[in-house]
């Protein structure tokens, strides 16, 4: 498969965030084409044909989601752009916003035209200071050039794009937590239904899409949905950005077709495992995704394949662990995050995540007992499918998969008070 760069075409190019340069290199041509040659519905149909899936984590088909917005509402429709990017291991939206913010703005225009939206909010995590500055500058330039505002690109179409900065809460990446936060409240996710397409921001119909999802739109309009679909696999079109990190030689963002196997990402693009060590485990889509073992390295990284092995492609964040990583300590780290970030409104999540973290802390400190591992297994069964949002499900998926695939390490640590991996390295495994 030839290398196709859609989103990452200008990564690393300092000039690309400048509007004038970008206009000379295809910037806003696709949006112009949409206004000139296509009806709004045709834009949506093209996106459906492209098999574009939501790249924020859930993989919902993008064009289909837009069709849920009522056409006859007397209320305005809003677009909320999700740039909260806080799933551990994820940093791909940051690349788009820092290197090619005009691609995102063009995507926002195309989506807004398709769905008849006149106000878009980009919700960007508070820790992203430089990305925010770059995005805001690009938006300001676009207003000055008449690309945004009263007459978008000279058309009889108004669109305002505003940034809205978050303030350090992972849960505001969950779409309804995001809406609450946008409305000036704490980011407590809402019960669904009603879905945001009907009742979203300020009680109005709202489309919520991830930065990367929207940034794909210009090329889809330029080259056609079929072209995009053909790059991917059966039900997942195009390329996506994989954020590779952990024990690899060349961590970074790599744009690859949706169905690329892990092996290619890790060994061809990522330069292989650090210090020539052996691969031990892969987290395929942010720490909410079930961990995979080294023998699953030839799986393709698309949504449907990973769902079949009870994990998920999630946010495309691929975290690599080598043979020397203690899986008990790794899970302890992950569960610290979930316990800290649970918003606290559902009991199984609030109590479950902090209980799991406390038990793991006890084990890691050498004060555990074999029954602790059983307690963890039991807790896990009470954490899935019982809460308002998917945070709890993510914490549970991580917990369950670590226990299933690396259970021996947990039993050993709980029994002897020491890490199996560290003992093995010292040649001192207890028998």
């Amino acid at each position: 498969m030839p290398i196709v760069k859609i989103l990452s075409e200008f990564f690393g190019n300092e000039q690309a965030r400048d509007l004038q340069w970008r206009l000379k290199h295809g910037g806003y041509e696709a949006a112009r084409k949409a206004f000139r040659e296509m009806q709004p519905d045709e834009v949506t149909q093209e996106v459906i044909k492209a098999n574009l899936r939501g790249l924020g984590g859930a993989g919902f088909p993008t064009g289909r989601k837009w069709t849920f917005v009522p056409k006859d509402s007397d209320k305005p429709t809003y677009l909320a752009v999700n740039c909260d990017e806080a799933e551990p291991g994820t940093f791909k939206d940051r690349y788009i916003v820092e290197w090619d913010p005009h691609r995102l703005i063009e995507g926002i225009i195309i989506c807004s035209y398709a769905v008849a939206i006149h106000t878009a909010y980009v919700y960007i995590r508070g820790e992203y200071v430089r990305p925010y500055e770059r995005l805001q500058k690009a938006i300001d330039e676009a207003y000055e050039a008449g690309i945004l505002g009263k007459n978008v690109l000279g058309n009889n179409f108004q669109l305002d794009v505003f940034t809205h900065r978050g303030a350090g809460a992972y849960i505001c990446g969950e779409e309804t937590g995001l809406l609450e936060s946008l409305e000036g409240k704490k980011g407590w996710p809402r019960l669904k239904p009603p879905f945001p397409a009907l009742v979203g921001a300020f009680g109005c119909p709202t489309v919520i899409n991830n930065v990367e999802t929207l940034s794909h739109l210009p090329k889809i309009i330029e080259k056609g949905g079929q072209w995009f679909a053909d790059l991917g696999v059966e039900r997942s079109g195009g390329t996506r950005l994989f954020a590779l990190s952990g024990c690899v030689n060349k961590p970074g963002v790599y744009e690859l077709p949706a169905g690329t196997p892990f092996r290619e990402l890790i060994y061809e693009h990522g330069g292989g495992i650090l210090d020539g060590k052996e691969l031990k485990a892969i987290i395929p889509g942010g720490t909410s995704a079930a961990v995979l073992s080294a023998d699953q390295v030839d799986l393709p990284m698309d949504f449907d394949t990973l769902a079949k092995v009870k994990s998920m492609a999630g946010s495309g964040a691929v975290i690599i662990m080598d043979e020397d990583v203690c899986m008990v300590k790794a899970l302890h780290n992950i569960q610290n995050f979930f316990a800290h970030e649970s918003c606290g409104q559902c009991t199984p999540c609030r109590e479950g995540t902090s209980w799991v973290y406390r038990i793991l802390s006890r084990i890691v400190e050498g004060k555990g007992s074999p029954s602790d591992v059983e307690t963890l297994r039991g807790l896990n069964q009470n954490m899935s499918g019982t809460s308002i949002c998917a945070l709890c499900e993510g914490a549970s998926m991580a917990l369950g998969s670590f226990l299933e695939k690396f259970g021996d390490e947990f039993d050993y640590y709980a029994k002897y008070g020491r890490s199996y991996v560290e003992d093995a390295r010292k040649g001192a495994v207890a028998v």
């Binding site: 291991g89 303030a167 992972y170 300020f202 024990c247 992950i334």
Partner: protein, 160 residues
């Protein structure tokens, strides 16, 4: 410290512009807090009262938001506050050693101020969104990564 809080006149103008972005006043809550914090270094009780007044909401609503979001501070930190990323990818690349070295270098525990008031530091359990730079930290809002002892020496020296 004075017992009242007000936006500077420039910030008041900015705030009026921000209000126009949203169909409700309350939606300007986070922007107002960001602005108050940028102006004052943290959000004192007087600022909560002031923001409640601007947005026409009870103070308790401001409180609730303030305590929910970890980036909003209720007390002053060091002039340069360092956040070490403690999440998975940074941990895999040695954030533990970075923490040990910072403790040694700054000579204060997490959450405390150095004697000259210039530095404070903490480890956060959240991934800061720059794992390709692991191990990394954030200081004065910006990311510094691929940390080594030498790099930390530089970061501290530049700000001393």
């Amino acid at each position: 410290m004075s017992s009242s809080f007000e936006f500077t006149s420039e910030n008041q103008k900015k705030f009026q512009e921000i209000l126009k972005r949203y169909p409700t006043k309350r939606a300007a809550m986070l922007p107002a807090m960001h602005m108050a914090q940028a102006q004052h270094g943290f959000i004192p009780p007087e600022a909560e009262e002031y923001i409640a007044g601007l947005l026409d909401v009870p103070i308790i609503d401001v409180r609730e938001v303030l305590s929910f979001y970890s980036l909003f501070l209720q007390e002053a930190k060091g002039k340069h506050h360092i956040k070490v990323c403690g999440s998975l990818s940074c941990w895999l690349r040695g954030s533990g050693e970075i923490r040990e070295y910072l403790l040694e270098k700054l000579g204060v525990d997490e959450g405390e101020l150095t004697e000259d008031g210039k530095f404070s530091w903490e480890t956060v359990p959240d991934c800061l969104g720059a794992c390709e730079l692991a191990p990394m930290l954030q200081v004065d809002g910006y990311f510094e990564g691929c940390l080594t002892r030498e790099k930390i020496d530089e970061i501290v020296k530049e700000r001393t």
